[in-house]
Every structure is written in structure tokens, then in C-alpha cells.
């Protein structure tokens, strides 16, 4: 990030790399870890990728912060940021969907729950999508589905490896079946990306559940996850109701999924960029091959 951007953010009253975890300390310079209670200097926390120095707890970060952590400075070029959500069903529960959208847009400064674009990771070009859990729980509606699909199509065309950072409660109910169909649409685009022998990696962050788990989160050539992230298809409460038995303590954590063979590797956030770089470099010969084949 340039110094200019940093000042621009300051003017907007937005602290750079703001930790979204709410706590009594969050107004000041100090942050209290929600996991171990340790009070740390906010700047130290941010310098440590918002990971607690004491217990390793990964605080939730927003999409822009995630992009800053992964990409080389000034290399992220967003695409399709002009897509905005509509209210196709005229949906209203206790509140109107249109109002919920406006509120999320105002509080996040985003149009919907995902940022997509191209970037460089230690000078290796890559396509990148980052879901933002702050926007209606990272739920997937038409815009999220369309932006991810376009990004996949773009990376297939440009022969780019692809990383999708997942953080989602699942399909966005307010757009009904259109949301469910985004799962199929994205999976179709991934089929073509795969057919072109290009590398796709989802990074599963806390939480990745429902329709996102049942589509692109589980379709990686390699599947990465953050420590202790909640990852699952069905909600824990639903399962407890059907089973009426106690579930294992680590149920639906990244570690549980790795134990059962559904996650390739768990990557602490502080090592994320380094690990990504290693994996991308190890696949580079493959990438060059598919480029020359085209």
C-alpha cells in the first residue's frame, strides 16, 4: 500500500488493517485477544497478520487486509467491481433485503461480498478472489457468484493459477434459488479451468460452510485452510438436533478436516504468502507448459 492510500484511509477514519473483532479495547491502541485474553498493542497485532502472539488465535480480517497480506504492493487490479446486487425476489423477512444490502454496503464500503482481480505473489501472476464475511455473513448471491465465475473464466483465458479465499455462511437465502444456482455456475467454470490444466486453490478461512463448502471450497486441486477455521457442510446445531449426541471437540475445524482427508495443508496466516509462493513456484513448470500449448 502506498503512503498516499494510507493517508486516504486515515482521512476516511479507517485504520489501516483494522481488526474487525469487536471488544471493549477496540477503540484504543490496545486489543484484547478473544481467545486467551492477552492484551496486545494493536500495531503489534496488525504486524503479526492479526494473529495473537500469545495463543495463535487468528482474528478475522476483511477482504482488503487479506489482499494486502497476499499480494505484492500495488499489483492487485480489481475486475468486475461494477457489478451491484439487486433484489430479484422482492424479499422481505423481518427487514427488507434491499435495506440489508444498503446497510452492508455502507458499513463495508463494498458493493457485495467478494473482491476479485489479478495480482502478483512474489512476482508470480495469479487470479485472486477474496470473500468478505462482514458483508451479510459472506453469503453467496448472484453478484458473488457472477464475480467469481468471471474471475475463473478470466484466469482460464489468461492461463493464470487461481486462489479463492473463502469465508461464507453459504448461499444467500434472500436471492432464493438464484443463489443455489451460483454453486453450479461456479463449479462449471472451475471444470473448464481444470480442463485447461491450471492450478486452483481455495483457502478456507473461518467460517466456510453450506453452499460454499458444497461447491468451490472443496474443488481445489490443493485445498488450504487457516488454523482452527470452522469448515463444514451442515450447521453444528442442526447436526446435534438430529443426532442427540455429543460431537467431537474439534468437529468441523480445519484440523478435523485435515485428519479426514479433505484439506491438503493448514497454513498459519503469518506463513501464508511464503507457502503460496512455494506452491506456485513448484507448479511453474506446469504453468509454462500449458501456456506454450495454447
Amino acid at each position: 500500500m502506498s503512503l498516499f492510500d494510507w493517508f486516504a484511509d486515515r482521512r476516511k477514519g479507517q485504520f489501516v488493517g483494522k481488526v474487525t473483532q469487536e471488544s471493549e479495547e477496540s477503540d484504543g491502541l490496545w486489543e484484547k485477544c478473544p481467545e486467551c485474553g492477552q492484551v496486545v498493542y494493536r500495531k503489534d497485532l496488525i504486524d503479526n497478520c492479526s494473529v495473537c502472539n500469545n495463543c495463535g488465535h487468528h482474528n478475522r480480517i476483511d477482504s482488503k487486509e487479506r489482499i494486502r497480506l497476499i499480494t505484492d504492493p500495488n499489483t492487485f487490479i480489481s475486475i468486475n467491481n461494477h457489478l451491484t446486487p439487486v433484489d430479484p425476489l422482492g424479499f422481505k423477512d423481518r427487514r427488507a433485503y434491499a435495506d440489508r444490502l444498503r446497510e452492508s454496503q455502507a458499513s463495508t464500503g463494498l458493493k457485495d461480498g467478494v473482491l476479485t482481480g489479478t495480482c502478483e505473489v512474489n512476482s508470480i501472476p495469479m487470479a485472486l478472489a477474496v470473500m468478505d464475511f462482514r458483508f451479510m455473513g459472506g453469503s453467496m448471491g448472484s453478484v458473488v457468484g457472477e464475480k467469481i465465475t468471471r474471475l475463473i473464466e478470466h484466469s482460464t483465458k489468461e492461463k493464470l493459477p487461481l486462489l479463492i479465499v473463502c469465508a461464507s455462511g453459504g448461499a444467500r437465502m434472500q436471492e432464493g434459488m438464484l443463489s443455489l444456482m451460483q454453486m453450479a455456475k461456479i463449479s462449471g467454470a472451475l471444470e473448464r479451468h481444470r480442463d485447461a490444466q491450471l492450478l486452483y486453490m481455495p483457502l478456507l478461512t473461518h467460517p466456510t460452510t453450506g453452499g460454499v463448502t458444497a461447491s468451490f471450497a472443496m474443488l481445489g486441486d490443493l485445498i488450504l485452510a487457516e488454523p482452527k477455521a470452522l469448515i463444514g457442510f451442515a450447521g453444528r446445531r442442526v447436526i446435534e438436533q438430529t443426532l442427540r449426541e455429543k460431537l467431537p471437540d474439534n468437529f468441523q475445524t480445519a484440523e478435523y478436516l485435515q485428519d479426514h482427508g479433505f484439506v491438503d495443508t493448514i497454513v498459519p496466516r503469518t506463513e501464508l504468502k511464503e507457502t503460496l509462493t512455494k506452491i506456485l513456484r513448484l507448479h511453474k513448470t506446469q504453468e509454462v507448459k500449458s501456456r506454450t500449448n495454447a
Binding site: 489482499i67 494486502r68 499480494t71 492487485f76 480489481s78 468486475n80 467491481n81 461494477h82 457489478l83 451491484t84 439487486v86 430479484p88 425476489l89 424479499f91 422481505k92 423477512d93 423481518r94 448471491g141 448472484s142 453478484v143 457468484g145 457472477e146 448461499a171 437465502m173 436471492e175 432464493g176 434459488m177 438464484l178 443463489s179 443455489l180 444456482m181 451460483q182 454453486m183 453450479a184 455456475k185 463449479s187 462449471g188 467454470a189 471444470e191 473448464r192 480442463d195 453450506g210 453452499g211 463448502t213 458444497a214 461447491s215 472443496m218 474443488l219 463444514g232 457442510f233 451442515a234 450447521g235 442442526v238 447436526i239 443426532l243 449426541e245 460431537l247 468437529f251 479426514h260 482427508g261
Partner: protein, 329 residues
């Protein structure tokens, strides 16, 4: 014959039906000619039934879609498939009874058929897990679809599930992964795929066998992103608001046709498919044969490209013209 299972809104019909039964009984025991009276009452009952079923709310349609006597996958197979051979197992340790498959002939054509299967009663439902497949069910389905792809057999899917099974074992075995892989792989298949929502289509569990060239739906079938019960308890914080959620979610065939998701809505007999199963079977068979012959006329690449663009178009959003599209991080 077993007594018909009645839904709440069908109760006004019961009185009429009881009258008809009584008169029939009387006529059997005496010499009185009641045919005129019977005809009148039967016409009235038919008209009532028609009125009720033409005005069903989405919440009522869910009840019809879940009717225990609504024809199931195996019923349709029995009604119009020849040479049915059920094929078991995912070759990975399980044979899910909630999602079945096999080879059959429909008219002149050999097909591969898969579908969710609920039970008729509690005992059957326990064996069938109420039509909620585990990961092994989805993997069996994919194994069979791959077989169809190798031997150039069109694939017919019958969707009838409250959803994929939500349980410890399902998570352990990767329910999300199993469904996800089906979604991707169904785009790869080179043979025609027709899916029909014969009962209820519950979310990802339905979509897991639902990436098709044509999606058909019976008139009173429903297809939901989340069950209205779950939706109500999350968004309304009140499971009692399920009927409101059912309306808001747009889950009926006509609604989903408007949204560009469903290709054809199949008419049901008055009173629903459970009222006249054979008629429902005819309707479905005719529709499948029509769509099959259309799809079989396409080349492999046309078929796959069309399937891709069909789903590619799904979704509603605004594409604003403004240039403020750059985002700074």
C-alpha cells in the same frame, strides 16, 4: 385399498367423500337408484378439489410435494421403465439407500436413471434415511453417471429430497466435497442429462444430481435454496414463520421458470400426483421422451456448451456503467 392420507386443506373434501361413500353403501343394500345423486356429488367434489389445488399456497405445495403417497423414483421406474436393473454401491465402502440408480429402458432408449428415494412409512423411511443421501450416495451417483458417459447412455435424474443428510458421519465423509465434485463433473459429461423435481428439491442435496441440460418440475413440486423452516428460524428468528418464508423464497415451478431456472412445469392431475399416479407417470414419460429426442439431436460439444451457458446465465445483478470500478487496497 389403504385409506388416502389427507392434508389439512383437503379436509373440506372429506365430508363430500364421506357422503358419496354412504350413498354408495346405501345403494348396495337397497334397490334405490342413486346414480343421479352420486354423479352430482362426484362432480361437486371434483370441482372443489380443482378449486383447492388451483389456489395452493407455496406452503401447501410443500405438503403436496411431501405427501407420503406421492409417486416416488421407484414408482415411476415401475410405471414406465422396462428392463430395470438396479446398480448398487459407490465402490468405496457404502451403498446409500436414499439415492438409488440403475439401468433401464424408456420406450426405445436405454438410459441410466438415478434418483432420491424416500420411504412410504416409518420403517421404510429409516432404511431410506428419509431420502437424505450421505456422501456415498452422491459418489455412487457420480460413479453411475461416469458409466453412462462411457457407454453413451442419457442420464435421467429424479429429485426428491429434503436435503443432503446433515450428520456426523456425513461431515466426516465429506458431504460438501461429494456434492461439489458432482456439480463440477456433471458439466464434463458428454451425454444428455434431464433432471425432474418429482417431489421436493432440497438445496445442495438436490443440486448434487441436478446439473442438467433440462430441468423439469411437477406442478406441485418445490425446489428450495434452504428449507422454509430453516430459513424462517434464521431470518425471522421464528420457525413458525415457515409459510411466510415459503412464499418469499419463490420455490414453485412457475416462479422458477420466471427466474430462468426451470425449463418446463409438468401438469399434475387434479388433487396432485398421489391422486392419479398413472396419469402422472404418463405425463413424466412423455416429457422425458420429448426432451430426450431434442437433446439427442445435438452434438456432444453443442450439448456441453449449451449446458454451460444455461447455468452461466443464472443470476440477477446490475452492471453499472460507471468507471469507479477500480478498488484500492
Amino acid at each position: 385399498m389403504a385409506r388416502r392420507f389427507l392434508l389439512e386443506f383437503e379436509k373440506p373434501l372429506v365430508e363430500l367423500e364421506n357422503q358419496i361413500d354412504q350413498i354408495r353403501e346405501l345403494a348396495r343394500d337397497s334397490e334405490v337408484d342413486v346414480s343421479q345423486q352420486l354423479l352430482q356429488l362426484e362432480t361437486l367434489a371434483a370441482r372443489r378439489r380443482e378449486e383447492i389445488f388451483n389456489a395452493l399456497t407455496p406452503a401447501q405445495k410443500i405438503q403436496v410435494a411431501r405427501h407420503p403417497q406421492r409417486p416416488s423414483t421407484l414408482d415411476y421406474i415401475q410405471m414406465f421403465c422396462d428392463d430395470w436393473v438396479e446398480l448398487h454401491g459407490d465402490r468405496n465402502g457404502t451403498d446409500d439407500q436414499a439415492l438409488i440408480g440403475g439401468l433401464a429402458r424408456i420406450g426405445e432408449k436405454s438410459v441410466l436413471l438415478i434418483g432420491q428415494q424416500k420411504g412410504r412409512d416409518t420403517k421404510e423411511n429409516v432404511a431410506r434415511n428419509f431420502g437424505m443421501a450421505k456422501p456415498g450416495g452422491y459418489r455412487k451417483a457420480l460413479r453411475l453417471m461416469d458409466h453412462a458417459d462411457r457407454f453413451n447412455l442419457p442420464i435421467i435424474c429424479f429429485i426428491d429430497t429434503p436435503g443432503a443428510y446433515a450428520g456426523l458421519i456425513a461431515e466426516e465423509q465429506g458431504q460438501g466435497e461429494a456434492i461439489a465434485v458432482n456439480l463440477r463433473e456433471m458439466f464434463r459429461l458428454k451425454v444428455p442429462i434431464i433432471a425432474t423435481v418429482i417431489g421436493e428439491g432440497g438445496s445442495g442435496g438436490a443440486l448434487g444430481i441436478g446439473v442438467a441440460d433440462r430441468l423439469l418440475m411437477f406442478e406441485h413440486s418445490v425446489y428450495t435454496v434452504a428449507s422454509p423452516e430453516a430459513c424462517a428460524s434464521i431470518l425471522w428468528r421464528d420457525a413458525g414463520k415457515a409459510p411466510e418464508a415459503a412464499s418469499a423464497l419463490k420455490i414453485t415451478g412457475p416462479d422458477l421458470m420466471k427466474l430462468g431456472i426451470v425449463d418446463e412445469v409438468l401438469k399434475e392431475p387434479s388433487g396432485g400426483n398421489n391422486w392419479a399416479p398413472l396419469q402422472a407417470g404418463d405425463t413424466l414419460k412423455n416429457a422425458l421422451e420429448k426432451h430426450l429426442s431434442e437433446l439427442l439431436a445435438l452434438s456432444t460439444s453443442e450439448l456441453r456448451d449449451n449446458r454451460y451457458s444455461k447455468f452461466r446465465k443464472m443470476g440477477k445483478y446490475l452492471e453499472s456503467q460507471s468507471i469507479e470500478s477500480e478498488i484500492s487496497v
